[in-house]
Amino acid sequence: MSKWEKFLDTFFNARVMEKYLPDILSGVLVTIELAVLIVISGLVAGLALALVRSLGLRPLNWLIIFVVDLFRSLPPLVIIVLMYFGLPAADVSPSGFVSTWISLALVLMSFSEEIFWAGITSIPKGQWEAARSTGLSFGQTLINVILPQALRLTIPPLTNRTIAITKGTALGTVVAVTEILGQASSAVSNSYNPSPLMMGAAAYIVLFLPVVVIGRWIETKFAWKR
């Protein structure tokens, strides 16, 4: 066997790949479920926090900043582990799936809140004044004038952060979530061959490349003629 054949046999072993393809595919499904849940709940919660913060209620804002800073500084793995192994002490026993979902959603919420907030504050004060001077309320101004401009600014950093955090679904392996990496590593142990890991890598690319492309598409769609 040449070096090249040996390499192929080790990392791209057709027999192993065929055998474990169904496992990887079911892992893909779990990853998609997790990712969709994390993205939707994390971004909605982040936007909601940013909107609440724009009301300018001091004590509430301190609380938001504290929570957001906390979840931005903790490693996501630590949050997942704490939730999965720690919460049962408080008589709440979330599954590995739920622990991973909630943990990463909290992290995405925190980062996206900061991004939304930066977008909102970057809109010139004159936009608020012009809208308010025509009789628009605070809420109407926020929704019709400020947010459309702010969201457009936030899309590039938001896309990056969302992808980075959603890839963290792989951390679910430590709490026995059967997502892509979990399926791939157990397949590796069972087959004594790392080919499933390559399938896992391919699955991540297939999954996340479209997200990057969609992000870019939204960016161009939201750009207005200057």
Binding site: P124, G126, Q127, E129, A130, A131, R132, S133, T134, G135, L136, S137, Q140, N144, V145, P148, Q149, R152, W224, K225, R226
Partner: protein
């Protein structure tokens, strides 16, 4: 004398330790154009911004068209429809077309349907000479055109009084004329206006009354000819000679 549209009494405004308005009274009669001049930092913009409560006065009272603006029971969003404001930096919404800018408040505040709002909006753009620019975004318009769209945004709501906060200060000299032309048309149509500006030529032949402010007080006021040719205070004289030197 016609009924007063604006009646401000004893206005004070503090920004922290800074005392910007020190007891200003201002009456503006219906169809009157009051021109406010004064050195920068004299409080003229702050006075204007108090008149629609973009700034909250520290003390005093303001009546606009019979509405007590400072009464906590007053619906300020409702009252602001009667008080148009035009800003130095235009402040058009960059993500909307000219027509979108003009119709937003018509739809959201005045409760017009999209069709009604569009019709009123087009009429307002027509009035400022930009009927053919309805579909343009602010980025596609010159500064002078942007400011005229901003004026259209205000007049579409049929305000009882319009406040102009240095409307031509951010414009290239060759674009000033078009904006002043629109303001003159407005004045001729009987709009009540309060204008903070350095356009002394416009003040001279369009204003009914010129108000000179310095250090938070109204130093003197009167017809343009009197203020410009024969001011009674040294500070007014110094300011006007400075302005006219160039």
């Amino acid at each position: 004398m016609a009924a007063a549209i604006v009646e401000a009494r004893g206005l004070h405004k503090h920004f922290g330790a800074l005392h910007v308005l020190k007891g200003v009274d201002l009456d503006v009669a219906e169809r009157e154009l009051v021109f406010v001049i004064g050195p920068s930092g004299s409080g003229k913009s702050t006075l204007l911004r108090c008149l629609n409560r973009l700034e909250e006065p520290s003390a005093g009272s303001i009546m606009v068209d019979g509405i007590n603006l400072l009464d906590p029971r007053t619906d300020i969003n409702h009252a602001r429809q009667r008080i148009g404001m035009v800003f130095q930096s235009f402040n058009l919404y960059p993500h909307m077309t000219a027509l979108g800018n003009v119709t937003l408040a018509l739809r959201k505040v005045a409760g017009k349907s999209r069709g009604e709002a569009d019709a009123i909006g087009r009429q307002a753009l027509e009035r400022v000479g930009l009927g053919d620019r309805a579909g343009h975004t602010p980025g596609q318009l010159s500064g002078g055109q942007q400011q005229r769209v901003a004026i259209a945004r205000s007049i579409a709501l049929e305000p009882r009084v319009m406040l102009f906060d240095e409307p031509t200060s951010a414009l290239d000299p060759e674009l000033v004329g078009s904006v002043l032309g629109v303001m003159r048309d407005l004045r001729d149509s009987g709009m009540t206006m309060v204008v903070v500006s350095h356009e002394m030529g416009f003040a001279r032949n369009a204003a009914d009354r010129v108000l000179f402010m310095d250090e938070g007080v109204v130093v003197e006021q009167g017809p343009p000819a009197a203020i410009f040719e024969n001011p009674s205070h040294d500070r007014t004289r110094a300011f006007i000679s400075q302005i006219q030197r160039h």
